[in-house]
Subunit: 208 residues, 4 copies
Amino acid sequence: MPRPRFFKLEPDKQARIIDGAGQVFALHGYQGASLNQIIAQTDISKGAFYYYFDDKADLFATCVTHALEEVFQSVDFDPQTLTVETFWPALMAMNDRMMTYTDDHPWLVAVGKQLYTSVDDPELKDRLAPLLAHGRSLWAAILVRGQEIGQVRNDLPLELLLAVMNALDVAIDRWFVESWHDYSREELERLTTVALDMIRRMVEAPEA
Amino acid sequence: MPRPRFFKLEPDKQARIIDGAGQVFALHGYQGASLNQIIAQTDISKGAFYYYFDDKADLFATCVTHALEEVFQSVDFDPQTLTVETFWPALMAMNDRMMTYTDDHPWLVAVGKQLYTSVDDPELKDRLAPLLAHGRSLWAAILVRGQEIGQVRNDLPLELLLAVMNALDVAIDRWFVESWHDYSREELERLTTVALDMIRRMVEAPEA
Amino acid sequence: MPRPRFFKLEPDKQARIIDGAGQVFALHGYQGASLNQIIAQTDISKGAFYYYFDDKADLFATCVTHALEEVFQSVDFDPQTLTVETFWPALMAMNDRMMTYTDDHPWLVAVGKQLYTSVDDPELKDRLAPLLAHGRSLWAAILVRGQEIGQVRNDLPLELLLAVMNALDVAIDRWFVESWHDYSREELERLTTVALDMIRRMVEAPEA
Amino acid sequence: MPRPRFFKLEPDKQARIIDGAGQVFALHGYQGASLNQIIAQTDISKGAFYYYFDDKADLFATCVTHALEEVFQSVDFDPQTLTVETFWPALMAMNDRMMTYTDDHPWLVAVGKQLYTSVDDPELKDRLAPLLAHGRSLWAAILVRGQEIGQVRNDLPLELLLAVMNALDVAIDRWFVESWHDYSREELERLTTVALDMIRRMVEAPEA
DNA sequence: GATGAATGAGTGTTCATTCAT
DNA sequence: AATGAATGAACACTCATTCAT
């Protein structure tokens, strides 16, 4: 992750760097984004860049982390406290918060999604592993709690459920981002609900 | 795609090229794979490579095409003939066939999956568009037929259903490829069935 | 120059090769023309090409030679027999013949001109030297004869006169080729005469 | 053309780059000169080269521009002010200045000349067009002024006159560069005068 | 005689990274 | 703390030429 110096920078400059880099990564992916593009977009010198970050992968990881922190913060409940009554509503509220957020910060979503596709890049794998683990453990806690209270199916390995939920999430997000302009607000809201219901039907315990 | 000469090559050599390239692409993705790696892996000279293919994108497209042809061939029924009784069994049989295939050619799955992630690469987009369209139209035909006979939900845009089904497919495949060795044969078979059921629950018409 | 075998080929095929190659050389120059373009244009196999010619430079030299032979043949008089009365008319007649020829074989002119620009290409220099020498000796004979009979200035080295006449020739040819379509036939004929007069005024002995 | 950074370099280094590149271009032409040769000759790294120039064509254009700037600067009079008395003397003085310059920087002449031969290279055409236009307009202004005051023939299209004058110029220059060592200073000076007279006789209005 | 598959050094260009200032 | 000049290995791709058939 970035050198500690980075966080001593004026928050404004930090944000400008992360934002500029994020936009480039969102547009071209990790490999396709060149450092030259990034420093041009960011108004930071090459030297300064290496003063704050180890390398390109470090910057990427920082961007992804930043993008995901927002997601993590949208989980404002303790999974252990969920009950049969609050389980699905809490998930839906969380989803709502993320949708709103998506609306405002399109590139963060794009970069966030890249976390999952660039997991096979050997150059990135180790760097992103902790991040992935964090995200996974968050979801795992929720799903496990769901299983405990009989809301989530337990006939499949947790890892598979996680993979599937995430893939679905990403696919749906992507579709919404791309189709935003083709539907009315109300229609979009209805679709959001239905999409979520689709996920629910998939992971819900059969007997529930 | 490749020059006609390529198909005049001894099938053995064709296979060696496609296979070698496929492995490298599977490992590093389109951008990450370098032609130098590929020709080293493939035991073909640089000149020979360009004698048979237009460029790197051409080779990639050829690999993906090759991978998907198997998938397309596993659809051995006409969607129009499906009925309420045969719809889900046909899909399951198709899935079975693909699973078996996956088992034997792990890299093909990895490359096939890249078709969907590399759709945003401008260098690749036009090259892969026909392939994507073909795959999509195949699935669209099946889903539309399913809607006609009341087996598939029609409260969501077809494009969204397609995106979601594909994402799920890929995620499940990937998980199976990675977890192959951690489960017994029987357990795997059971999981396959359950996974398919998960898809079904997701896209099945609520009233069905 | 080409292997003797080449001249045993059916004249038709010989012509097709020289013509095809000539067109490509005329369009792209010696360096810019690739052998692949040429064999495509020529309908000869790569192997056959190297069966008849030593290398690319050999083919180029052959084309240029072919182009210049026509020029040499348009000199149908013996310079030694020229007199004060016949000197300039003979040169003008020769020029006429070349103009007519130019009209019919545009690429030959283009390739012929390249003889002079590619003289500094080390790869070509030795190959084209004899050709250049031949052309030069022809013109030298004419100019020397002109000096003998007092029609050509002798206050400048012969080599300089040759260089200047050739440059002028090429420039005028090129201008005519490019402007062919912008003037009427009559206007062109008048211009041709004036252009020749320009050359004459330049090299004519001051006292003549 | 080159990036602004280039001009911030120590003049010495700028000169070394332009000079090294110029020599290679002079020797092999634009196409024949390889970047590898150039950076070897120039003692600059490949990376540094691309840090200062867009591409090979950019470097070439820079060399040609540099070469021609000297020529343009040798025109130290306003064509509009020329009179019957000053017209030819001004041209001769200009020619003298250029000859002196040629003496010191042989490669510049060679590269300058390439401006005219490489005009058909599609890769170069657009890059060099402004330069060519500038040179042409300069000469055109002089010739038109000459026509106005009755010193230059007007029975030929201006473009043809320009082409012819330029060709002559180049041919004479080239001959002088090559023959520099074969004649005495005095002889050379005499020849220069005669050569210029040759040009004059060619373009001078017949009645003048 | 003739083919065309095969070669590999070469091309122009990009890039993450380093380091003197 | 910050700059930006400099690097050189790597990239995708081309080419004249060779040679087994």
